[in-house]
Amino acid sequence: MHARFKPGDAVRVRKVYPLGHIRTPFYIRGHSGVIERLCGNFCNPEELAQMRSGEPEQPLYRVRFLQKDVWPGYRGNAQDVLEVEIFEHWLE
């Protein structure tokens, strides 16, 4: 599948809480970050968890967030980052 984002693109993680098996952590939903790299294309774990094929494969990205943006009252270095691997359909 063609990757919609490229390294350096600003993205926001969709803030929604449907049921099912979801690899996007709760704590990162609704936060904005930057694409660090494209990790490759993989079958959709939301479908694999329900014993279906998960095809077509979906682009997976490593997304970089600033820790101070993610954790309320973060007192570490303002440049500290957090990287999370997120599937394309969770990014906008």
Binding site: R14, V16, Y17, P18, L19, G20, H21, I22, N44, E46, E47, Q50, R52, H89
Partner: protein
């Protein structure tokens, strides 16, 4: 209750909320009772209620458990996908935000 001590049960009457009536209707229709396609069984309803974590089970009302269980069943059967559910939830949130 369910084999665990739970104190005295106080039976009371109460009116059903509109959404509770709709959940009940949804379950009936999905069971194929009106001649539609049979998309779930009562056993799936029970299985997915039993799969709720104990604290969630305690916190939820009767029809809240039902609607969670019905949704899980529809995802497991592939009637809807997790992605479709998430997108619909976003759409409804946006619609309701405009009303306020």
């Amino acid at each position: 209750m369910g084999g665990l001590p739970a104190g005295k049960v106080e039976p009371t009457e109460h009116d059903y909320a509109e959404w509770e009536r709709r959940v009940d209707a949804l379950r009936l229709l999905l069971s194929g009772i009106r001649g539609g396609k049979k998309l779930m069984t009562v056993d799936e309803l029970r299985k997915n209620i039993e799969a709720l974590p104990p604290d969630a089970y305690e916190r939820m009302g009767y029809y809240e458990r039902w609607v969670i269980s019905i949704t899980q069943t529809m995802i497991q059967r592939g009637v809807i996908t997790t992605d479709e559910l998430g997108r619909k939830m976003e759409q409804i949130e946006k619609r309701d935000a405009r009303k306020v």
